[in-house]
């Protein structure tokens, strides 16, 4: 029997935020500059399994990914049964900052995908001093509402399966089958109303079109990486957003879709490594001798 123990560890951290106690699950691997990873709507930390197992990253970055409350292994806070999950930009930023504080992460790099990519713009606007660099994947200032997410939380629809079916075509058909179907499995395990609750932020509330021009990339460099097969956050959406932000660095990734780190980790890592090299070099230069 061949056994391989991954160098990834999982843990829980508890903290209070706005009168609620949260028990948050996170996974980490590596050492060095903290690289905080934010998953997509309706999914969880498992999307970053490729990065957490990539020695070319973990030998110099401490890769950390946490499940938002209601997602993955982060259960909702007590009292959830009488509530509906609805992600807002304020709550999202507060959760990220609280997690960063709870783990005493010192000016981490933050990298998020989809809703995580969107909130990266929010962090760049309002909390840039807390981060040494910001990397938005499938990131744009807004997304038009092209389907009604209410059907993903309907008593006569299997929401998690319908959610997986909704997002399956966002991936590049050439991405490895096993990685695509693992990505869908994460969606099939989502809690009731969680994906649609995240989409409130993505499709309705988290619209930064009027504000992104105020992002100061001199405070925290901003990188935007988008897969060419994504029609939800299309390459043009990212380019339109970047055009408003002086100093934003954009890369369109051929052969990747909406879930680059999960649908094809190795292809994505090839695009990410030069970005991390640049961030690492800038961090080295910033250290006083």
């Amino acid at each position: 029997m061949k056994v391989m123990l991954e160098p990834v560890s999982g843990q829980y951290v508890r903290f209070d935020l706005a009168g609620r106690n949260y028990r948050i699950y996170f996974e980490e691997a590596g050492q060095g500059i903290p690289l905080l990873c934010l998953h997509t709507a309706g999914a969880d930390t498992r999307q970053f399994r490729g990065l957490l197992n990539e020695a070319r990253i973990t030998d110099r970055f401490r890769v950390i990914a946490f499940d938002l409350p209601w997602h993955g292994k982060s259960s909702p806070p007590a009292g959830w049964q009488g509530e509906t999950w609805r992600l807002t930009s304020t709550l999202y930023c507060e959760l990220i900052l609280a997690f960063t504080h709870a783990l005493a992460l010192e000016t981490p790099v933050v990298m998020g995908c989809s809703i995580g990519g969107r909130v990266c713009l929010n962090l760049a606007l309002d909390h840039a001093t807390r981060f040494r660099a910001i990397v938005g994947l499938q990131s744009a200032a807004s997304t038009p509402r092209y389907y009604d997410p209410a059907w993903l939380d309907h008593p006569e629809v299997n929401g998690p399966v319908a959610g997986a079916a909704t997002v399956m075509g966002l991936m590049c058909p050439d991405s490895p089958e096993a990685e695509r179907w693992e990505t869908l499995w994460h969606y099939m395990q989502g809690g009731p109303g969680v994906f649609s609750g995240d989409l409130h932020f993505y499709q309705v509330e988290g619209d930064f079109r009027e504000r992104v021009k105020n992002i100061d990339t001199a405070v925290a460099p901003l990188y935007l990486l988008t897969g060419e097969y994504d029609y939800s956050c299309s390459p043009q959406d990212t380019l339109d957003t970047a055009a408003q932000i002086t100093g934003a660095k954009v890369q369109i990734m051929p052969g990747l879709g909406h879930f680059p780190m999960s649908e094809n980790p190795q292809a994505f890592i090839a695009h990410l490594l030069p970005v991390l090299d640049e961030i690492e070099a800038a961090s080295r230069d910033a250290v006083p001798t």
Binding site: Y146, E156, P173, E228
Partner: protein
């Protein structure tokens, strides 16, 4: 479109047999001026009827231009032509009818429509 071949391909697909099990619905495809009703029972294509129809019996309809469907059904679709929802976003395809049924059977429907790819 060779619908008999489409039906054979769908009905031989072990993935659909697994993930589409239990799905039964009737979808009208509006491919430009042409119309087809695909009847699905328990994840298998039962019949494909060719229009025009006076009063088509279907649960929901997917209506798009010939050009949109041709791009979707290409053997190797261009980036962002690979999914129905891309055409919803661009406005090139429209869903009508029973949206609940559409979502309830979306996994089966999407896996089935992949078999349009590259058919003569």
């Amino acid at each position: 479109m060779d619908w008999q071949r489409f039906r054979d391909k769908v009905n031989r697909d072990a993935l659909i047999a697994c993930r589409g099990a239990g799905s039964s619905f009737r979808v009208l495809i509006g491919w430009g001026e042409d119309q087809y009703v695909i009847a699905v029972r328990d994840g298998m294509v039962y019949t494909v009827e060719t229009g025009p129809f006076v009063m088509p019996q279907c649960d929901f309809a997917l209506i798009g231009s010939t050009q949109a469907w041709d791009r979707f059904a290409a053997a190797r679709p261009a980036a962002r032509d690979q999914d129905l929802f891309a055409f919803f976003r661009s406005g090139e395809m429209v869903l009508s009818g029973d949206t609940r049924k559409f979502y309830a059977h979306l996994m089966c429907l999407k896996l089935m429509l992949l078999h349009l790819r590259g058919l003569p």
